[in-house]
Amino acid sequence: MKKPEKLIENGKRLDGRVPDEMRPLKIEAGILERADGSAYVELGANKVLAAVYGPREMHPRHRQQPDTAVLRCRYNMAPFSVDERKRPGPDRRSVEISKVTREALESVLFLELYPRSVIDVFIEVLQADAGTRTAGINAASVALADAGVPMRDMVSSIAVGKIDDTIVLDLTKDEDQWGTTDMPIAMVPRKKLVTLLQMDGHFTKEEFGQALGLAFKACEQIYGIQRQALREKYAIKQEK
């Protein structure tokens, strides 16, 4: 695709959204039979699967922590998730994302309840259209709750950015590519604590504040959808 002349025309973006509108979000909890907890997330064209295993015995043994559990995250993109085939395996980008994802989730978990064990989180990106790390965190957070891991709260995550000098919510691949700024944020909605914030590009102080405001509002919305996904799976059904 060539760079379009304008990314926002008549107040509408390339895909018809207004600047502060999120892409449609769908979350489903507990879809993997053999994982302790799992979730599937669709954010626009993004398709992400998260699986949680544990708490379980830590191997290798020398990485056990005598007083707490260890959280391990792996963010991985399928070779077919992007237009040009991605060489499989961890690369610099996915190692970094794995690390920031772990740090975004770690603070809400009661890891000290399970000394010497490990909780594994696997995030597989099946289809990517910018904002996969935020979709991954949303999925992982639901999957952790589905696995029965005690948490202080869920973690909700979304990206904000700047295209054509306008602050917009939840960038697509094209907007990310041609826009000037991309800023993924993860937060603990109840206490309004930010657990992940990365920025590619520039914001002025005012723009930053505005962007943060947009993200906070969107995270509240995502938080609701995450809770709903869990409720749907665990609701007590009446006998037919």
Binding site: Y114, P115, P150, L230, K237
Partner: protein
Amino acid sequence: MLYVQNRELVVPGQLIAEGSYNVREGAFREGKQVYASVVGLAELRGQDIRIIPLQGRYIPKPGDVVIGVVVDSYYSGWILDINSPYTGNLFVSDLLRRKVDLVREDISQYLSMGDVVVAMVKDVNERMRVQLEAGEPGMGRVKGGKLVEISPAKVPRVIGRKGSMLNTLQDVGECKLRVGQNGRIMIWGKNPRMINAVVEALLMIEREAHISGLTDRVHLMLEKIKSEGGE
């Protein structure tokens, strides 16, 4: 001040109550507020708040009866897999309930690899080292029978209110059951057909634990298989 009803479904981070309540497992306190930390059913009993989890691994606690499998042995005892992130330790003296002279006695005659053992959790220390004992009558090495494994969070459903489900399984299924808190269940019975029926019933309980009227459906299913007769 309570914000949820008894046995209402709650999700992590949900506000349950405000004030001086006793916070038990599955919930935590932040200042005056009490929040849920797991997906589960809020159980509010007087001043006590706890969440019955609907998922999760078995975490050993003292007094629990568990069913373990011997995976390793050492000089003075065995290591048991108890279907948990942590393994269990069983000393010979806690199995035989007497002093054992390890120099004279070869302990491999009592338990070997792969043996199934009914045991009780004697102690769990802060590093989650689990001490088991199996000296009481009805405990120790299991002879014969069938072992079924289900999710540990579903064990309360297998037992039922005041043991109603367990009684149904044992009486209608003509079997004797031993339920471990770790999700393992031993079944003994004379009729192999009814044993298999009980296994099916247990898997059904695990699958349909969230649908109401479970005990009646299990009863119906077992009665049906029983009436079909045959060997």
